[in-house]
Amino acid sequence: MNKVMNIKFAGLGGQGILTCTDILGRVVFDMGHDVKKAEVHGMSQRGGAITSDLRYGEKVMSPMIPVGEADFLIVLGEDQIEVNQHHLTADGIIVKPSDFEVDKLENKRMLNVALLGALSKHMDFSTEQWLNAVRAQLPERLHAANERAFALGRGE
């Protein structure tokens, strides 16, 4: 069996979308999966819309998720849903800021990691696996706050 899981992230340049894709990439990489991540950045750091694709499984071919095959769409703003939902499969799941108590986020820059917390409820990885990846991808002074953001997103 070679089911490839497809997770698409959408947001604006500067919201930390590439970082949170890297964190998920780290989780599945550490588990030994084949993994590919595709993104377009550059001019987009000027606040433009960007998306990032993460695919994992036994063997992944194209780095880009074919339109209509995303299992999850993670949006950093609700306004990203309309322009990106055509990427989802028929029973694909949208993970969005309103899935948790986003107003309790102590710093909106950690919305990306909180969304990973919300995503984690749909996936089989342990909290420790997620937090190990968070710690591996972020500077140490941000670890504690991001762990709290992850817990908030997870609803813990």
Partner: protein, 530 residues
């Protein structure tokens, strides 16, 4: 540790490959999506530096390669246009040490002004080209390119694209090699391209390419997948991965060495299937070559020349589907950052209703709402020449409205000769050049340049190339320096006065990029920066 699997971008993989190949110097000019190659090479401990532009970078690389040691030269596709002059002739001179030129195309133009296909350059100049399909191949082909370069004494192009440079895939690195210390051995007939020496060099080049084609047919980095005798797909680069996913039952020839093509092997492949199609991004490069050699392939439909390919589009090509494609919803376009000093500059310039010949950088975004103030943007440095051309022929009332606008990084790249032109062929109404000096190459991700006084790794050079001193020394009548955020009235007055006069005026709007300020603060704290 060194042979453990890692998740690397194509750019990181090229940097690691160069490191393991014993490269002595990495040199290039920043350009999306190629920029992070040299930045990563530097972080790995490789000696690497930004040149003022791609032509200079390539010339520095040629100098290294003439001494018998290895060099990596990096740029984006349009940078190869700037470097085309040395590029065509280094094919004749050849090299002693390995020289690899990593050039990144941008099909679909995520961040470029055109979608030119660099494979045409390989054929035009007669320079061999490899193209990886993922990061593992980017790593391996970087090392292979150095070996081929030394085996045939010729520079080798490594063609990348956005989806290779900025995609992360798993890499299992191999071993490192060491290369000889640089040592100059004189070889005048091979390195001084006067006609008498260049004529035999041209013939020698063609002989090398014929040998390389033979090698590519039998030992090249090409792969055949599947065994169907019905449908055959010839493809290359990341498109090969889309094809393997889109048509799992097809027989697929993945071309790894793009030039010279393994034509004998390709023709045999075509004969082994009932129906063969070439699936490639951008120009029909392989298709045209194969057809010229007598290969019968189903021609690609013209609509697939444009933009990136993906799994869905490859399925359409295979199915012969030429119907209209769905237009995906458009996300928010990029814009200047809140607090960007360019915003203050363009807010003022918009009021003056000028004819603005613009240039390439973040400030090109002033063409979009709410500013919509830029009239032209063609290539790096073109703002000055185009503005001067207009000034020479427009009626006076229009000529007096022409302003050239360029950034500090682009000015260092190719604005200097524009200033020489301004002084040499002075328009009757004079001219006004505004340099938006935010102290960094912001658009590509905050790289240093000769005017910032800092090296690629952000450490000081000890000497800064001064915009104002350079302009005055070249013969500009006056230079006015303003802060666009705090002295907007003085800025406006300087521009209005300059437009009314017949002087050659340079107005430098100097205020640091807000992103660079944050980055520099992080750097001072010792935190990781790009």
């Amino acid at each position: 540790m060194s042979n453990e699997r890692r998740l690397l971008s194509g750019n990181e993989a090229v940097a690691l490959g160069a490191m393991h190949a014993g490269c002595a110097l990495g040199v290039g000019y920043p350009g999306t999506p190629s920029t992070e190659i040299l930045e990563n090479y530097s972080k790995l401990g490789g000696k690497s530096q930004w040149s003022p532009n791609e032509k200079v970078a390539m010339e520095v690389g040629i100098g290294v390669a003439f001494t018998g040691t290895r060099t990596l030269v990096t740029m984006k596709h349009v940078g190869l246009n700037v470097a085309a002059d040395p590029f065509f002739t280094v094919a004749y001179t050849g090299v002693t040490g390995g020289m690899v030129m990593a050039v990144a195309d941008d099909p679909g133009m995520a961040s470029s002004q055109n979608e030119q296909d660099s494979r045409n350059y390989a054929r035009a100049a007669g320079i061999p080209m490899l193209e990886p399909a993922d990061s593992q191949e980017a790593y391996e082909m970087t090392k292979l390119a150095f070996e081929l370069s030394e085996r045939w004494n010729i520079p080798v192009l490594l063609r990348l694209c956005t989806r290779i440079c900025h995609s992360k895939t798993i890499v299992v690195p191999g071993d490192s090699t060491t290369v000889p210390q640089a040592n100059y051995v004189r070889d005048i007939k091979q390195r001084v391209m006067i006609p008498g020496y260049a004529r035999p060099a041209h013939k020698a080049l063609r002989n090398k390419l014929a040998e390389m084609e033979d090698w590519n047919n039998t030992d090249g980095p090409n792969q055949i997948f599947g065994s169907s005798s019905k449908l055959g797909i010839i493809t290359n680069g990341v498109v090969a991965l889309h094809a393997l996913e889109a048509a799992p039952d097809a027989k697929v020839f993945k071309v790894g060495m793009i030039y010279p093509l393994p034509m004998k092997a390709l023709l045999e492949f075509i004969d082994s299937v009932d129906d063969c199609i070439v699936i490639e991004e951008s120009d029909p490069f392989i298709q045209t070559e194969v057809q010229a050699a007598g290969g019968k392939v189903r021609p690609r439909m013209e609509r697939y020349r444009f933009g990136e390919l993906d799994v869905v589009r490859v399925k359409r090509i295979v199915a012969g589907d030429d119907s209209e494609e769905a237009v995906p919803p458009q996300g928010k376009p990029p814009q200047l950052c809140a607090g960007c000093p360019h915003g203050d500059s363009f807010g003022m310039l918009k009021k003056l209703d000028c004819i603005i010949t613009g240039d390439i950088g973040c400030y090109t975004l002033s063409v979009l709402p709410p500013y919509e103030t830029m009239d032209t943007c063609v290539c790096m440095g073109a703002s000055i020449g185009i503005g001067l051309g207009m000034r020479h022929v427009l009626p006076e009332e229009q000529a007096r409205r022409v302003i050239s606008v360029i950034g500090d990084g682009t000015f260092m790249h190719s604005g200097l000769t524009g200033v020489a032109e301004m002084v040499y062929n002075r328009p009757e109404t004079g001219h006004v050049l505004v340099i938006l000096d935010n102290g960094t190459t912001a658009m590509t991700g905050l790289q240093e340049h000769p005017g910032t006084g800092k090296k690629l790794d952000h450490l000081p050079t000890g000497k800064t190339v001064s915009l104002e001193e350079t302009c005055l020394a070249m013969g500009i009548d006056q230079v006015v320096i303003v802060d666009p955020s705090r002295e907007i009235e003085a800025f406006e007055k300087a521009v209005v006065d300059a437009l009314a006069s017949n002087d050659l005026t340079v107005v430098i709007a100097r205020r640091p990029c807000i992103l660079a300020l944050t980055r520099d603060a992080k750097f001072k704290r010792g935190e990781k920066v790009r």
